[in-house]
Structure formats: C-alpha cells, structure tokens
C-alpha cells in the first residue's frame, strides 16, 4: 500500500476512534436520554442531569465524555476482497496511537505486571484486535470499543451444569450485578454470552455488548431471556451510579451459540452509561460510512 493511501487509511480509523470518545453512539445516547426522562427519584434525577450536562459539554468542547477512554479494542470483519489485508493490523495500531495523542485520550496501557505506562495506548496486544473473515466482500467492517477500567471489573465467565438452566444463568447475572454493578457506572449495557466453555462464553458476551441496543437474539427463547433479565435487573434499581433509582440497565443483549450438552457456559461483559463503541464500514477505495453515529454526526 503506498504511503499516501496508508496515511488516509490511518486517518479514517483515527478520526473514527477519536469521535467515539466524544460522542455516544446513537443507540446508547437514545437509551440514556430515555431512562433519564423516566426517572422521578430526586437524587437520581440530579445524577442524570449531571450525565446529560456532561454529554453536552463533551460535544461542545470536543473532549472525551469520560477520562477513562479505556484500552482500545477493534473487531474487524474483513472482506476477503478488501485490498489492504496486509496492512490492517499496523494501520489500526497507528490509528489508536494517533487518536490517543491528538484527541487526547488517556494513555492507559501499562506493561504486564511491571505497570510501566507506554504513554500511547500501544503495547503487546494493545490495541486489542480480533479478525473475522467475510467471504465475497470487499469491505472492512470495523467495530471499536473502549474498555474502561470500572466497567470491565464486573466481567466474568463461568461454566454451569446444564440442569441449573435458565435459573442458573439468571442467578449468576443478578449476583454479578449486585456485587459489582454499582462501581461500573450504571445504568449499564449488559452483554451475555452462552456457549460451551468459559472462553467462548466470554467472547460471545463481548459480541453481545457490541450489538446495537434494541436488537434481539434471533432465537425466540434467548430473546425472551433478554427481556426477563432486563426486567429483573431493573427491579434491583441500582442506577444511576449506585445511588439508587428506578432502573439498573440500558440494555441486555445475549449472543448464544450451539454448545456441548454437558455444559452451560455463561459470560458477562458490562458497559457503563457512557459505553463508547462505534461501527464503521470502510470500502476498498477507503470511502466509508459511520454506522453507529449517523445521528450524532448530523448535529455536530
């Protein structure tokens, strides 16, 4: 890939990454405004006022909504016909570094156990990149997530006995949120993965979190569980920010995979009220569409 093309590719991803630290995606923004509008408890209303003021200030001043801009994670669905396969990894890394220095984002990445801060959010395995191949496509569909500290802390994965069933899944999710949800900046976006082992369930839970709010699993029974968990979690009333209110979550999304009959793996990944994620489709000529922030960008 020639130098100019490469610079253009880096700039597209850098601007996209930076943008997602300043503006919430359309689904998260709509969900937080909706939940705030439905809140009546005075302390909770004060907190939602502060949250909405923060969103306006971030937009106005072009600053990251939250100081914890996380560890940057990219999920790349790569068309097998996309012409720059060899370059994607390095381009994403360069884009994350450039977004960190220019926005600026907080340099969070520290080296394993030594805790030395690399100063630019790059390091071994950072930004985190995961690839999926898309046969017959010439596009790169890129989803980005900023994994913050507080909202990553509740994350866990466990393999249940199949006889524990739906009740076992619910108990695991409720227990996790009662113990850890308060500090993860609720109302939360909840991603749940159901799979064979701890690892695949965890990975599916991240995919669930990245799925737009308001979408449902294609399996009717799983979609029903999404609604039941959302209702159950909301009845705990931990939002906003653990001070207590009428709700707890912005969303519950589940990604379920066919699994081993002897295991019922369940993973949970939580995003905060300021879940910063984005989705962009980059075409082979490097023209692009930002899917996640169409409405946010109209108004800026």
């Amino acid at each position: 890939m020639d130098t100019l093309r490469r610079q253009e590719f880096v700039k597209v991803v850098k601007d996209f990454t930076s943008m997602a630290s300043i503006y919430l995606s359309d689904d998260v923004e709509a969900a937080i405004r909706d939940i705030a509008a439905r809140e009546n408890i005075p302390m909770a209303r004060t907190m939602y006022d502060c949250i909405l003021q923060d969103l306006s200030l971030a937009r106005e001043m072009k600053r990251p909504i939250c100081q914890d801009t996380g560890v940057i994670q990219y999920f790349a669905d790569v068309g097998t016909g996309f012409p720059y396969l060899d370059d994607i990894g390095e381009v994403l890394r360069d884009a994350a570094v450039a977004a960190t220095l220019e926005t600026p984002l907080r340099p969070n990445v520290v080296e394993p156990l030594g805790e030395h801060n690399t100063g630019n959010n790059a390091g071994y395995g950072a930004p985190y990149i995961e690839y999926d191949l898309v046969p017959g496509s010439t596009d790169l569909r890129l989803r980005m997530y900023m994994a913050g500290g507080g909202c990553s802390l509740p994350g866990r994965s466990k393999v249940l006995m199949p006889l524990e069933g739906v009740k076992g899944i619910k108990d695991f999710v409720y227990r996790t949120i009662v113990d850890w949800g308060v500090n993860a900046c609720p109302p939360l976006c909840i991603g749940i993965g159901l799979g064979t082992c701890a690892a695949t369930s965890a990975m599916l839970s991240k995919k669930a979190l990245l799925r737009p709010i308001g979408t449902h699993s294609e399996y009717p029974e799983v979609a029903k569980l999404e609604d039941e968990l959302k209702e159950g979690l909301n009845s705990l009333g931990i939002a906003p920010l653990g001070f207590g209110g009428s709700n707890s979550v912005l969303s519950v999304n589940i990604e379920a995979a066919a699994h081993h009959p002897a295991t019922l793996g369940v993973g949970i990944t939580t995003g905060c009220w300021a879940t910063r994620k984005g989705e962009i489709v980059i075409h082979k000529d490097l023209s692009y569409e930002i899917i996640s922030h169409a409405h946010a960008l109209e108004n800026c």
Binding site: M43, T46, M47, C50, I51, Q53, D54, L57, A58, M61, R63, P64, I65, C66, Q67, D68, T69, P104, L105, R106, P107, N108, V110, E115, H116, N117, G119, G149, G150, L153, K170, Y174, R175, V178, V182, N183, C185, G232, S235, L236, G237, I238, P240, L241, G242, F243, G244, C272, W273, A274
Partner: protein, 191 residues
C-alpha cells in the same frame, strides 16, 4: 443553597454532614489512586510539596492537555472506583490527616471506621461526568510522581465549587453504599 467546603477543611466543616447530603469543594484537591496509596502507605513516602493535613484527595486519573502556551490543563477528570483503595485508605487517612476523600461508588468498613475515628468523610462524584468535573478545575498547580504515568500521578489542582459530591461515609461512620447494598440484596431475594 449550596453547601461548600473549603480547604483546609476543619473538623467543624464536616462533623454535621450526614450520608446522602450534597456538598461542593473549593480550594486545593489532589488526585491519588492505586500507586499513590501504595507509595504513601507501604513505602511511607509523602508528596514533597503538598501538605495533605486537613486536605482533600480525589480517586481519579485525568486526561491532561497542554494549551497553546504550554500550560497543562484538565481535559477530562472523573472519579475512579474508590473500592480499589479500601485496603490502604484507613492508613492513608491516619498518616496524612486528610478530611475528604472523593471517588466513585462507596468504600467499606475499614475506611468507615477510619472516618469516624479520625474525622473524615468519603464523597462520591457522579462517575463518568469527567468534562463537568474538568470545568470545575481552575488550574493545575503542581504534579508529583510522574514516574507512575499520567493516570496515576499526583496532580494538584485549584478547584471551585467542585461537585456535586454526595456524602457516602460520614464522621459517624455511616455508609450510604453499604446501606444501599442491603436494599439491593433484599430486592434480589424477590427475583
């Protein structure tokens, strides 16, 4: 009317505050989180230029920018999870003599006991509202311990009406978030 605390914070300023009250802070505020607590409590090293007696700390790791004149300013600075500092906070309060700990979420029994014993409070700032908080910082006056990197360094700031700060542990050792936790546990039993 806004209840405003000013540094140095006398015991009188905080003794009648109770959990759930909302206050603001004007004066000097310093960030201190995991590494800073380790340095004070385990390594017995105090910040060299800032006296924390009757002072205030903020569990926070900011994004710091530089303006056109090269002066550093707060871009975004929201609270981090206070519970991570639970292991060290009681000793930190005793050794430094601070009166106000600001963070996210609550802290636990050991910190509540230290607040009661040494006359301090813990307050929660709404998590994630980092641009709101940055707007309440007038200037960065000093920084120490840059060897920890930007998030963990000891940033000293002048703040004006910094808040809202909700009292989560008061000088009697009452604990808002631990009380809330009991409510959530009761609701959980019904599910």
């Amino acid at each position: 009317m806004k209840k405003i605390l000013t540094t140095p914070i006398s015991y009188d300023q905080i003794k009648d505050l109770r959990i759930g009250d909302t206050v603001y802070l004007t004066g000097t505020l310093a960030t201190c989180r995991d590494s800073g607590h380790r340095r004070v409590v385990q390594d017995k090293r105090m910040p060299e230029r800032t006296d924390l007696r009757e002072g205030a700390i903020f569990h926070a790791g900011p994004i710091v920018g530089k303006d056109a004149d090269g002066k550093q300013y707060m871009v975004s600075i929201g609270p981090t999870t206070s519970r991570r500092m639970e292991m060290a906070e009681a000793d930190f309060i005793e050794q430094t003599g601070i009166r106000l700990v600001i963070g996210k979420g609550g802290m636990m029994d050991k910190t509540a006991e230290a607040c009661r014993k040494f006359g301090a409070i813990h307050c929660a700032f709404p998590g994630g509202c980092a641009v709101v908080a940055a707007q309440e910082v007038e200037e960065i006056t000093d920084v120490e311990w840059m060897d920890f990197g930007m998030p963990e360094a000891f940033w000293v700031m002048k703040v004006k009406e910094f808040g809202p700060l909700v009292v989560s542990i008061d000088t009697e050792g009452n604990n808002l978030f631990e009380n809330n936790k009991k409510i959530y546990e009761e609701r959980l039993k019904k599910l």
